[in-house]
């Protein structure tokens, strides 16, 4: 089961259907996650993101990038370009998900050639952060099984507590997730990640700020903590636009090599 960055960006955007009289209490886990997913992945998006990496010691490191995404059903194309720090300015990633196929390419500044991120590397840390390369992809509908564990308040907000398990553990990054989904905004407020092998809790993601951006409830500030070493990555959504026009030529190896 892989969580995408969009989970944190679009963050389970608001479902305005509630205002139309839908009784949220009667929703099943699949219905809740469908709504989270439907609002999490707008057809097109452009987001400027800042990552702040904090270890137990030393100065925090900052990384900034812009992410462009185009989604159509279970297919998606994601292009990422780093702007900061200077040493990695121009590092680019391209993720293409089409049907069952999924390819991740990288162009690092120190290397003139394009590198392919193998499937086994997708659980590696993304540029030293607590997110992973697998988080760059969108979550495919039907990859996971959701189970409603009940309703529970999280920091005063009524939430659905949902357990998510991958249908194929072999392809998954984690053995399971526990998600606290805001009952009103359909944003995932808190997530626990469980290790694939030992099935222990290894990471947690806490959404600290949610804003309404272009009619979409979006997590704009979240903190991922690796429980194994205490390292934290704060993800700040600096700017976001949904429904922007993105040409298909952006999501090509040509652009990955030559830049936008």
């Amino acid at each position: 089961m892989k969580r995408s960055l969009a989970l944190l960006l679009a963050g389970g955007a608001a479902v305005l259907f509630a205002a139309a009289g839908i009784n949220a209490k009667e929703l099943t886990a699949d219905e809740v996650m469908d709504r989270v997913r439907d609002n999490r992945y707008p057809e097109t998006s452009e987001a400027q993101i800042k990552l702040i990496l904090r270890g137990k010691k030393g100065r925090p490191l900052t990384k900034e990038f812009t992410m462009y995404r185009k989604v159509s059903g279970n297919d998606a194309m994601t292009f990422i370009e780093f702007e900061h720090p200077p040493a990695i300015r121009g590092t680019r990633f391209l993720v293409i998900q089409k049907g069952e196929k999924e390819d991740t390419y990288a162009k690092f500044t120190e290397n003139p050639t394009v590198q392919r991120i193998s499937e086994s590397q997708r659980s590696d840390r993304f540029m030293g952060s607590d997110f992973t390369y697998g988080d760059l992809r969108i979550e495919r509908k039907g990859d996971d099984t959701f189970e409603m564990l009940g309703k529970e308040e999280y920091e005063g907000y009524p939430c659905y507590l949902i357990k998510s398990t991958p249908k194929s553990l072999k392809k998954a990054q984690y053995s399971q997730l526990k998600l606290w989904v805001d009952c009103n905004k359909f944003v995932v407020r808190f997530t626990e990640f469980y290790d694939k092998k030992k099935r222990k809790k290894i990471k947690k993601l806490k959404v600290k700020e949610i804003k309404l951006i272009e009619n979409t409830w979006t997590a704009t500030l979240s903190v991922m903590t690796d429980l194994r070493d205490g390292h934290q990555t704060t993800m700040e959504l600096v700017k976001a636009h949904f429904g922007v026009t993105l040409g298909d030529n952006l999501f090509t190896l040509r652009t990955l090599i030559g830049g936008r």
């Binding site: 990496l53 030393g58 040493a87 300015r89 392919r116 590397q121 390369y133 040509r254 830049g259």
Partner: protein, 486 residues
């Protein structure tokens, strides 16, 4: 080859670089009206650079003293300081166009011996890349100084023959120093997103360049000596610069887990060779002199790479009906100094082939291992021990080297450990280049490292068995560096 024209072109790029950066804003202020500065600010996309201070100690050994063989030898027991300013910028002047400018705007090198007397001092300004790229439909057209990598292999690539190597970069690799950009016209046609055809034309071809007295190299403790028949050469024949060129084409495809490439390169160049003709008994028959060799040759090659999970295998090969190989050599033109030619060359006029195998193991982004092996062979080469056979080559073969490159990122990529280990199989020589780099912040990087060179200097990179030219010797170096990226 007279490199003055090239140098003037290169300086022109630097001047243009500074003109855009410095002159335009000043002009805009004076005019107080919309000007190129507005255009510049609108077109400017991004930029950056680095200021680097490198301090090294060249350890004393039992080799020759500094200064012998006219500066070709490595200096020992020497403190060396290098200060470098590198800058780059990208512009989007109009739709689907990009201008990239980068330059080592300033590089100062100085060496001091134990008596604190300055024995080396030089200042360089070197353009890096300066090109304009225009996209039209599926076609990309690029013109200017460029770096261009061919082949599928990462490190030892027999078909990656376009850019001269920045030979200092071999053991002192700053990202901007690895290869030297050259003037090039390039067209790329994308058949699909993952298959393209590329054609290149290099009007002013020139070989590798490096700082002749850079102390990272133990160069030529003895003169390059080869057993030759001088009549077979055309001494002092200068090929006009305008007649030296390279042109080539390649097709490359990324298909699933495979990368495929086929390429062809035609070169006409004026390549100098420093020779000391000897007769069959080893007696010097002429004074050492520079001559020319094999100005025209073709190289055809290709490679295939395959990645499966954590492992990647790549094979690359090249064949040339007549070819010369450069081990290390070319022009050195310090600003304000005189031109020199470095004599390290492996050459031949017989068919030759090169192949290289690389294996990568990357269990994670934190660990990267690369093992590489390369063979260079000239077929039908004359027997270097046969005095009756014209010796038109300096060496017929190099079982080039095996390479192990390790990179370990720990503490979330704050601390990076790299180890380069190059082993010359034929000569039983090796070079170790351990490096530790620490990111002290978003901008600051500290590094320490060493270059450990071991080998029989009379045999390393031997030329024809009778030409002892040593690239590596017992000349070790330790260094510390500070780099501020902006």
């Amino acid at each position: 080859m007279n490199s003055s024209r090239i140098i003037s072109l290169r300086n022109l790029c630097i001047i243009a670089f500074f003109a855009i950066f410095l002159c335009s804003p000043a002009a805009a202020q004076e005019k107080k009206e919309p000007s190129r500065w507005d255009w510049f600010m609108k077109a400017y996309q991004r930029g950056g650079g680095a200021l680097q201070l490198h301090y090294a100690y060249d350890m004393e050994d039992d080799g020759p003293e500094a200064g012998d063989t006219e500066g070709y030898s490595r200096k020992e027991d020497l403190w060396e300081t290098r200060l470098k300013l590198y800058a780059w910028a990208e512009f989007k002047p109009w739709r689907k166009a990009k201008i990239h400018l980068s330059a080592i705007t300033f590089e100062y090198i100085a060496g001091r011996d134990p008596d604190e007397s300055v024995v080396l001092e030089s200042v360089y300004r070197l353009p890096n890349e300066a090109y304009l790229m225009q996209s039209i439909g599926r076609f990309d057209f690029t013109v200017g100084y460029q770096k261009q990598k061919w082949g599928v292999n990462q490190f030892l690539s027999p078909t990656n023959n376009l850019n001269p190597s920045e030979l200092r970069g071999f053991i002192d690799p700053d990202p901007e120093d690895i290869v030297i950009p050259i003037p090039m016209v390039k067209g790329v046609f994308f058949i699909t997103d993952f298959i393209f055809i590329e054609g290149i034309y290099i009007p002013l071809f020139y070989k590798s360049q490096f700082h002749i007295f850079h102390t990272d190299f133990a160069l030529c403790r003895e003169e390059a000596i080869c057993q030759v028949n001088p009549e077979e050469y055309v001494p002092d024949e200068d090929i006009p610069e305008s007649e030296q060129w390279e042109a080539g084409a390649r097709i490359r495809a990324e298909i699933g887990d495979f990368t495929l490439e086929a390429n062809y390169l035609h070169t006409r160049e004026d390549f100098p060779v420093f020779i000391l003709p000897k007769d069959s008994e080893g007696n010097v028959v002429e004074d050492p002199h520079i001559t020319r060799t094999y100005p025209t040759y073709d190289i055809m090659g290709g490679g295939i790479g395959w990645r499966y999970k954590k492992v990647a295998l790549k094979v690359e090969a090249a064949y040339s009906p007549k070819r010369q190989y450069t081990v290390a050599g070319g022009w050195h033109t310090p600003i304000g100094g005189e031109d020199r030619t470095l004599p390290l060359l492996l050459a031949g006029d017989s068919p030759s082939y090169t192949w290289a195998l690389e294996a990568e193991y990357a269990p994670s982004r934190q660990l990267y291992l690369l093992l590489s092996y390369e063979e260079i062979r000239l077929t039908d080469a004359p027997d270097p021990d046969d005095p009756d056979e014209p010796q038109l080559l300096l060496s017929s073969e190099i079982t080039r080297l095996a390479l192990l490159l390790g990179k370990i990122d720990i503490f979330r990529e704050r601390l990076v450990f790299k180890l380069g280990a190059v082993y010359f199989i034929d000569d039983d020589d090796y070079i170790l280049t351990p490096r530790i780099a620490f990111k002290a912040g978003d901008h600051i990087e500290l590094s320490v490292g060493a270059n450990v060179l071991q080998g029989e200097r009379a045999d390393t990179n031997k030329l024809g068995g009778v030409a002892p030219v040593s690239l590596y010797s017992d000349a070790d170096q330790v260094f510390a560096g500070f780099r501020y990226n902006f």
